[in-house]
């Protein structure tokens, strides 16, 4: 949620920088955005540290206020220039190719391409440089601090990078949808991999896929590119959420369904084991008893017993159940873990 907060909150920084330079392509805008991002994070931390405001409320307090300042500034002083509130919020990727970078009168291509390219390069460089520090600080900040890694500084650095990225993306997708691009790909990737390096690579791949699919969708519908990209980001996440092997919803559901019977059989085995050879055995180890004491329905109890019999875990004489050797072994094994 911090990325959402930042993407909104850096607006006044950008507007002020724009009002000072009157130039939307000034590099000062990027710097101002980075600074405002760090300011946002500091404000949230500051509010949180007073103990008067819970952290989530602090986030929810700071970013709308800053964003409002930005919107009011635009409406008052920059309403009829190139910066308008809709564009800030929604982005206009379609115009990106028309804003070109020219050097000594030579057209070098779209400006956004260079800007985002530079940001990408910066990020990769930072990532490679601080890979293990970031890894440790994310995983265990207390330990990182203990060995002198200054996780707070890393945190602010990371948030500044986020701000810079957001301002780069502003042009393209606007402040709300950049959040989709930042959150959805990693959220989708985490269903598939455990290792951090693989996670980062897969996130990047999903990010690229999101952009390509989103653009195609926008062309097909003749609709907002930014909106379409967010939708494709959501679609990729949903697919991962539902269908990822092992951790996806469907896989988990199937596994749980089979585990439920497995678990019920184990419960039965342990139940029989606990009462084996004790005086109450005659009473406790009857099928009818399972309904009463385990709280199982008659059908469920019958099905569990049938499955356990088939697997050779229990033997049944009339109504009385007893464990086979395999059943005893299973019960003991499960109890000891």
């Amino acid at each position: 949620m911090m990325s959402d907060a930042i993407s909104h909150a850096i607006l006044p920084g950008i507007v002020v920088a724009f009002l000072l330079t009157q130039d939307l392509s000034s590099p000062l805008l990027v710097l101002a955005a980075g600074a405002t991002g760090v300011l946002t994070v500091s404000l949230v931390e500051l509010l949180g540290r007073t103990g008067l405001v819970a952290r989530d409320a602090a986030i929810g307090l700071v970013f709308p206020a800053l964003f409002s300042i930005g919107v009011v500034l635009i409406a008052r002083y920059a309403g009829d220039v190139h910066l308008d509130t809709d564009a800030v919020l929604l982005g206009e990727l379609a115009f990106a190719p028309f804003r070109r970078l020219t050097l000594l009168g030579v057209d070098l291509g779209p400006r956004s391409l260079y800007l985002m390219g530079a940001i990408l390069f910066l990020q990769i460089a930072l990532l490679l440089l601080f890979y293990k520090e970031l890894k440790l600080a994310t995983f265990d900040p207390a330990f990182a601090a203990a060995i002198g890694l200054a996780p707070a500084a890393l945190h602010y650095g990371l948030m500044a990078t986020v701000s810079v990225t957001v301002v780069g993306a502003f042009d393209a997708v606007g402040s709300v949808l950049v959040v989709a691009l930042m959150v959805a790909p990693p959220a989708a990737a985490h269903f598939f991999v455990r290792r951090l390096s693989a996670f980062l690579a897969l996130s990047a791949a999903f990010g690229i896929a999101t952009a390509v699919v989103g653009y195609a969708l926008a062309r097909a519908l003749d609709a907002s590119i930014a909106g379409s990209m967010a939708v494709s980001a959501g679609a990729i996440f949903s697919l991962a959420f539902l269908l990822a092997p092992e951790r996806g919803l469907v896989a988990a559901w199937l596994r749980r369904r089979s585990q439920r019977w497995e678990f019920a059989q184990e419960t039965l085995a342990i139940h029989l084991l606990q009462h084996r050879g004790l005086p109450e055995e005659q009473e406790e180890c009857r099928v009818a008893h399972l309904e009463q004491h385990l709280g199982w329905s008659a059908e469920r109890a019958a099905e569990v017993v049938r499955r356990a019999e088939n697997r050779g875990l229990v033997r049944r004489e009339a109504d009385l159940l007893s464990l086979s050797e395999a059943g005893v072994a299973l019960g003991k094994e499960r109890l000891s873990t």
């Binding site: 103990g51 749980r256 184990e266 342990i270 139940h271 606990q274 009463q292 385990l294 709280g295």
Partner: protein, 264 residues
């Protein structure tokens, strides 16, 4: 010891609780007679809190049955009082000591009735009993750990229940408060109430309680302290994690279980 009446306070049969198919309690059978003061002990992750919550039906068991004074909890909520762990709530919540204690009466008020004079009076009287009367208008974050625990205890007392289930009431409490709480628990027992306490400090078990249940996912042992509090049972419950082995049952100051590394 008070005489045990024919009915049992709590009867648990074959209780199995699992979080996402991972068992936390395995086939626990437990009978708690009426009018006893019982400790539930076991290593971290042994399912002590889960046991309490399952009795209250705050978690759904995968199998098993719980009866309170012979009837399912649904019909008995009025006569069971629950003291959650102190850390489970936000103490910065805008409310006062008296207000929290009054909450103990909400169960009797139904959906729409607001607490009135009689609820307030009952809460005040209970606060007097736990020695917190002067603090009744304090906001609850301005209390010490021991005072917060007393507030929770008072909230349970004002319910005027038959069975009390308490999750670590001695957690983060000063020695003086601990004494006071023990006195209150004994008074409850003297009035024929049944008290079940999740407890961490092994050393004080024989002194404070007359009955004990050792738990480690399954029930290791349960019964009068004199019979059940043995080296063998402790070893069974704690495995190799007992800090001491030779003189564990003597009241030695360092008799504590070291926390288990794997919290379930």
């Amino acid at each position: 010891m008070t005489t045990t009446q024919p009915e049992n306070a709590i009867e648990i049969a074959d209780l199995t609780v699992a979080y996402r198919e991972r068992p936390v309690l395995w086939d626990v059978d437990l009978v708690v007679p009426r009018g006893i003061l019982m400790a539930v002990v076991g290593p971290n992750g042994a399912g002590k809190t889960t046991l309490i919550k399952a009795i209250m039906q705050l978690v759904r068991p995968a199998a098993g049955q719980v009866l309170i004074l012979g009837r399912p909890i649904r019909a008995q909520r009025r006569i069971v009082a629950y003291v959650p762990q102190r850390g489970s709530v936000d103490w910065d919540f805008p409310t006062t000591v008296l207000d929290v204690v009054t909450m103990g009466r909400y169960g009797r008020l139904g959906w729409f009735r607001s607490p009135g004079r009689s609820e307030r009076d009952a809460a005040l009287e209970t606060l007097r009993k736990v020695g917190m009367e002067e603090l009744r208008d304090r906001q609850i974050s301005q209390l010490s750990g021991g005072q917060q625990q007393r507030v929770f205890l008072a909230r349970a007392l004002v319910q005027d229940a038959e069975v009390y289930l308490m999750d670590e009431p001695f957690q983060g409490v000063d020695a003086l408060t601990e004494r006071a709480i023990v006195e209150l628990l004994r008074e409850l027992r003297a009035r024929g109430k049944t008290v079940v306490v999740v407890h961490h400090d092994l050393q004080t078990v024989p002194e404070y309680f007359d009955w004990v249940t050792l738990l480690n996912v399954r029930r290791i042992a349960s019964g009068p302290v004199a019979e059940v509090w043995t080296e063998r049972n402790l070893r069974l419950a704690y495995g190799g994690r007992m800090a001491i082995l030779a003189h564990e049952l003597a009241p030695a100051p360092q008799l504590r279980a070291s926390p288990a590394p794997d919290e379930r």
